[in-house]
Symmetry: C3
Subunit: 354 residues, 3 copies
């Protein structure tokens, strides 16, 4: 419970209304009641603003007069709301110290202000910094480091030789530093290439539940500062993910791919190995990135969804596309028309790109 | 080991044959021997029925005379077989009680007829109901509840403030209630939006191994009664999955999607955020659901598989489709034919839908 | 640290140069220094070879004279390098024995030369063979077996009745033998089909982090010898994966699919249930395998990536493909031309295959 004045102070915003109003939590404009703080994200929700029962609303100054409740004035209400969410977060805190049911090697170093929960296992040479939280059942391999104020939720597995920066969050079941998928072909099957590199994770990184990031084959896999990664993402060995890039759920990035800063990969995207993606690239959902991208912008692949009956009719024609194309070109030629855009030359070029 | 009469009694079916016949297990018609119970799913397997060595077979009354073995008569042999599978399930049982190597907070409530296995960690305020089984290494966060006769396999992680109904099954490594993927853009990167909602899971829900279901941002994520979810599925924050909907492996559902009752999503489907899918929708494998669906029925996207050489030739033409379409329309116009179905107007409409 | 002569001896190769040269590790040609061993994979890297600062390089005899450093001569430098990676692997070893914080049922059998780490739980009837390593927090269900020299990394879950062969590696968080996804439709929802089969994993198999392989419904799911599987792969119940087949990250294989030997499935591939894939099939990234494959070779589906603006224009035409095709055929007919390749007959055939 915080008063309006306290919230305004925490967010560094001016306000109008009852300074002593008690705010118990956050809610959307539509669901908020008198003890809730809400926010107006954009003009599209103005009608909801007029009708809201919220006790207080974060609004941009220009929408102030539409607000029926107490106001917090922000030039970026969405960002202010995000900051407010930290204030109202009631995720239970753990007390510093090593739980009696944890197994910490005597050659590991655990800061006295760190938390090591029940069932956690910390190997020799590992370092757990000040304010770090090692959740229940977490495994920290030999010589790995967990930076200050980083939180590892239960069952996270950190292999040996992995470094995690400060203020990171790693959600349950994530696996950091497992072997990359590397083999040489021998006569009688696959010969494993032992993965001798490590994994370096910068500061302020968040990694989702069940996500896996492999160690490098020779050099380290690198996740730069500020990267945010959703659940069930797979990052292969030797990848580098640039600063502040955001990767949504179920994305797979194959080995040795290098992704720039400030990129976004939407859900289910696949990136093939060894490609380079420059800064500022956005890839739409379930796209397969099959080549390097050198220009910022948005990229896509796939086909639109339709009723299965219609889809089948069209999908079967996909397998006749080249024949159809050549037929059209032939007709066009006969008509003495200029050739179809996307001529054979373009096709040859395109073919290389697929 | 059960006699034919016992099985018939358990399933509520009439039978013909040797009441004392001992049945040791279930098998397919092709693989069954004299101590096995099998079933005839449909007419297509009639030949297998004639040749089966099974001791007894569940059949529909109309196929009775084709059965060379003892018969159990059912109007729905597949369903009867499913029920029989429970009778023959020999998955080892655990004894009620709290294992000495479990860590249960003294402010947690564990029913005396519940099981808490070795290595499990249960936080303050959590409730484990009668007959519930908390497997080895499972983590139950603060104030979460596990309903009666619900079974959590090893290493499941339940965050704080999650409620799970009765008779649910959650397979190993599933993570329930991790933070949704929510950020506001700040000048120097992503500002986390703390996820303050919870997660509510109904009764009779089954959740597969390695599946992740996120907690809500403000309100709860909801999985309704009878939903079945396969392995490695990702359900984003604020989603609602309707009663008895079935979701196959590797599906990703982005945040705030609402899926109706009695839907089926086949393997690898992706659903973008904030869409609504009505009851009774079926989505075929690896389809990307890019918009709301208001009509029951089957939906698809993607292209058919072919030999890579052929595929490359056709795929490159995909990138020339619009040019080809315009060319065809031009030729058609010159021929004074009616314009091609799917004119520019339709295209503009379609474009909005992609 | 190994001398050049030691490395040559270990790899069974002849060498030229300083037999006593100390080699501390492996590195790529570009990154290597004087204490590193590197290798020349193919002709394309000859320039890097000339410029390398590596202390020693594994090269094919025909490139020997281009090598500015000491040489190890191999007819397959990539394979020799893979073998060398084992020699330089410094992954920390564990000491045989059962950790005091492990929970081993007295009716389980653990070889005295096996490792059972802290937090591991081993149920009655389970067998852990000589040299096997059961990592921290691993769960081994009733009557399951872990073969000689097999390593299970932390948090692996092995359900009951699973057998794992010798010299396997299973990475953290993998789940072996969870229930397959099987239900019969009842009036009021889904009736679970209890999964009574087991899971058999051969020798020399590697399974990635977070990968799930389900037990069979009636018979066993089978992974044959030498199969390598990357992270976050899902293999459904009753599947059989043939010898030495390689499956990259994020692949999903639906139930009862049978995949031959020496196949490769690239990242993100989906295989529908009940299909059969013969030996020697290669499937490119994110392809959906919708039917059985009877001819070795490479197979694909999907569309090429392009800028989203271009993609939208072409994607909308996908939904008009059949109309366009019929239009083109009509024009062609009018011109008295032979009908377009991929006539309606072909389309009907194709339709069945999608």
């Amino acid at each position: 419970m915080h008063t309006l004045a306290e919230v305004a102070d925490y967010l560094g915003l001016s306000f109008s209304g009852d300074a002593d109003r008690e705010l118990a939590g956050l809610a959307s404009l539509a669901n908020a009641g008198p003890s809730h703080l809400s926010f107006l994200r954009d003009e599209q929700h103005l009608e909801q603003l007029s009708a809201t029962r919220a006790g207080a609303v974060i609004v941009a100054p220009r929408w102030r007069e539409h607000c029926p409740a107490d106001c917090l004035l922000s030039n970026d209400p969405h960002l202010s709301f995000a900051l407010a969410s930290a204030l109202f977060d009631d995720t239970p805190l753990a007390f510093p110290g090593i739980h009696s049911a944890a197994s910490v090697d005597e050659a590991a170093s655990v800061h006295e202000q760190a938390v090591v929960a029940a069932g956690a296992v910390i190997e020799a040479g590992a370092t757990i910094a000040e304010g770090a939280q090692v959740g229940a059942g977490v495994y920290i391999g030999h010589n790995s480091t967990v930076g200050p104020f980083t939180r590892l939720y239960p069952q996270v597995v950190v292999y040996h030789g992995v470094s995690i920066g400060e203020r990171c969050i790693v959600h349950a079941g994530a696996v950091l530093g497992a072997d990359g998928f590397g083999y040489a072909q021998a006569e009688d099957g696959w010969q494993k290439i032992h993965q001798l590199g490590g994994l370096r994770i910068g500061d302020g990184v968040e990694i989702g539940a069940g996500t896996t990031v492999d160690r490098g084959a020779l050099d380290d896999t690198v996740i730069e500062d500020g990267v945010v990664i959703d659940n069930q993402v797979q990052i292969g060995h030797n990848c580098r993910i640039g600063r502040n890039t955001a990767i949504a759920g179920c994305v797979g990035v194959a080995g040795s791919a290098v992704i720039g800063a400030n990129c976004t990969l939407a859900g289910g995207v696949g990136v093939v190995g060894h490609v380079q993606i420059c800064d500022g690239v956005h890839v739409t959902g379930m796209t397969m990135v099959t080549r390097s991208i050198n220009e910022p912008g948005s990229y896509s692949s796939g086909t639109p969804m339709s009723a299965t009956r219609d889809w089948k009719r069209n999908a079967v024609r996909f397998n006749q596309l080249d024949a159809m194309h050549r037929r059209v070109e032939k007709i066009a030629a006969r008509e003495d028309a200029e050739p179809v855009a996307g001529s054979d030359k373009a096709a040859r070029r395109g073919r290389k790109e697929t």
